[in-house]
């Protein structure tokens, strides 16, 4: 790995020039990325109800600090170093643009503007932060180590909370959907990284993360995203021994989860697939929300309700349902929630983002040899597993939840930068050959 890093550094003149100029900025990016990723596991703890804390919690604060640093540096250097980090793809700008333009239709301007600012901070600030931090294999490993730490903290605290303290809370997350979306994406990413690491302790830790994530998950969305992410990994792993190992760990996790859910005392997952009508987890609520979002999409095809303003309209769109819904509203499908808020063009922009980055992840995988000791294949496989898990999580919950969006941006940045790093390396290898 060290040789690969050296080869990459020796053969990339752009990287050497940029590193000498921006060493301190690179160090700041690595530190801020690690803070942002690890602190995202704590969500809004300990001041969940405070709006100021929600805007300035450690993970968001890291992004604000980075945005200020980068803006200042850009003005000082007159944008001469822009080539050393990648901006997001045009599709991300299109999505952001549609969200900003949809503010024109917002009944509550402050809410819509706040949502657009948050989206801009995450999609631009977050993406540039991660893309600046990931410059070589060493920094890529640091980011994956941070992801693993975040997953371990989140899973272990949730297990303690639910099974030792018998609390209704899902670790640092109050909602099982938020927890499910967070861990449903991070657990496949971190476990894939650990399973393919080669060392025994890493494989054991990877197994523990997956089993812990399955046991602690309390929603159908979490279960679906974990199964999809791990199944993708099983499909693309080249070594049969690892395929069996990952399959056995996944089955073990599902088995323990099913056993635990036979007890009515510990059965949030059972509630999530029962047609009950109560706040929190239940199947009926999910279908009511889905129908309401389709109703909004029918009435406001292009403009939507405006970014972040779905709750202002939602209660007027529960028609064609058997009775007025009195449950607490909650987005239970990221695709439909995006369409309801930003119209069909918002949905198309989101699909454009996922088509572009999905294609990038898949192409990187299919263009490399199927060997695990091939570092390119390893990271491409990890990213694809994370990407599919995230897309599945978006069906039963939303990647746009406050405090969860960072995971979505992280996956996009990982795919983009892995492609860039190994593209440079492959060019260097071809030149040497």
């Amino acid at each position: 790995m060290l040789e690969q890093t050296t080869a990459l550094e020796n053969n990339s003149s752009i990287m050497i020039i940029s590193r000498s100029r921006t060493d301190w900025l690179y160090t700041a990016a690595i530190i801020l990325s690690a803070i942002a990723i690890v602190s995202s596991a704590f969500h809004f703890w300990p001041f969940e109800q405070s709006n100021i804390w929600q805007a300035l919690c450690p993970s968001n604060l890291a992004l604000w600090v980075w945005s200020i640093l980068l803006t200042g540096y850009c003005f000082l250097k007159r944008f001469k170093f822009v080539g050393i980090f990648s901006l997001p793809h045009l599709s991300v700008f299109a999505y952001l643009g549609v969200n900003i333009l949809s503010v024109a239709f917002a009944p509550d301007l402050s809410r819509a503007v706040n949502f657009a600012i948050k989206l801009g901070l995450l999609l631009l600030g977050g993406f540039t932060l991660f893309s600046f931090a990931i410059r070589n294999i060493r920094s890529l490993n640091t980011i994956y180590a941070s992801i693993t730490l975040a997953a371990v903290i989140s899973v272990s605290y949730c297990l303690v909370n639910r099974f030792a303290l018998c609390s209704d809370k899902f670790g640092f997350f109050n909602s099982p959907y938020k927890y499910g979306t967070f861990i449903g994406t991070l657990a496949p990413l971190s476990s894939a990284y650990l399973f393919t690491g080669g060392k025994k302790w890493k494989i054991l830790l990877g197994g523990a993360v997956v089993i812990g994530a399955f046991i602690s998950s309390g929603s159908l969305g979490a279960l679906a995203s974990l199964v999809v992410g791990m199944s993708t990994l099983i499909l693309i792993l080249p070594e049969w021994s690892l395929k069996f190992l990952v399959s056995a760990t996944m089955l073990c996790g599902i088995g323990i989860l099913l056993l635990l859910n036979t007890s009515p005392a510990v059965s949030p997952l059972r509630n999530d697939i029962k047609p009950l009508e109560k706040d929190g987890l239940n199947l009926k609520q999910r279908y009511i929300e889905w129908q309401a979002e389709i109703n909004i999409l029918e009435a406001r095809s292009i403009t939507g309700t405006s970014a972040g303003c779905i709750n202002q309209y939602r209660s007027n769109f529960y028609y064609r349902l058997p009775k007025l819904n009195t449950l607490k509203p909650f987005d239970q499908n990221g695709w439909l929630a995006t369409s309801a808020e930003t119209g069909l063009l918002g949905l198309v922009s989101l699909c454009w983002i996922l088509t572009h980055y999905g294609k990038l992840a898949f192409c990187r995988l299919s263009n490399t040899m199927q060997k695990l000791n091939n570092t390119i294949y390893r990271f491409a496989a990890i990213n694809l597993a994370g990407f599919t898990a995230m897309s599945a999580a978006n069906i039963f919950s939303s990647v746009h939840y406050n405090g969860i969006l960072i995971v979505f941006v992280l996956v996009l940045a990982l795919i983009s930068r892995t492609t860039w790093i190994f593209g440079e390396q492959q060019n260097a290898d071809n030149q040497n050959y």
Binding site: L101, A104, E298, S301, I302, R320, L345, C351, T355
Partner: protein, 207 residues
Amino acid sequence: MTKQITTRAKIIGFSLSATAVITACCVCLFSEMPIPIEHPVILVVASLFLLIPFASNYSAKKFQKIVGFYLTSVLVNELSLQNFQLSGDSIDVTISYSAPVFLLCIIAYMMGKIGDAGKFQNLGTINILPAWLLAVIIIIFHMAFLTPMLMRFYGYGYERNLSVLGSLCLYFLLFVALWGKLDRPRFRQFIGVILTVFYFVITFAKR
């Protein structure tokens, strides 16, 4: 002779698309239909953005295309909510105001195809087409998944859900018809001017 036909087709294609946008603006303004735009200033600024003549910035030009399509779609969306009736001897036919706009755009697209015959395909369309297809697949998947579930729970037909698919198809047609035209700076600037005037009027009239 062929060049003459191509030039004529291009001019007709441009004029028809432009007429579609002008017609939509006029119908919205003069038919006194309610226009639910809360903060039209944002749309005025977006329309002004279309007028900036970027020299060689590829991303900015692409973004202008996207903004141009968004603004036109918003305009057509306003028309789609309203209908006019044609009454015959025994039958009443209801037609959406947006129908003529879609029709003009599609004819313009056909004329444009004649004008562009033999040239390379528009790369921008190829790039964004999979995203539109994915959006269609996601909506169809949701409808297929949701309808039997809801029928089981509540016994409702939910046949109106199909209208969501219908509107998606209509906007897809608008996209196909306009996306190529928006490549041309003249066309972008033309609809930029029209839409700036339109949203200025909306801002001051506070409709």
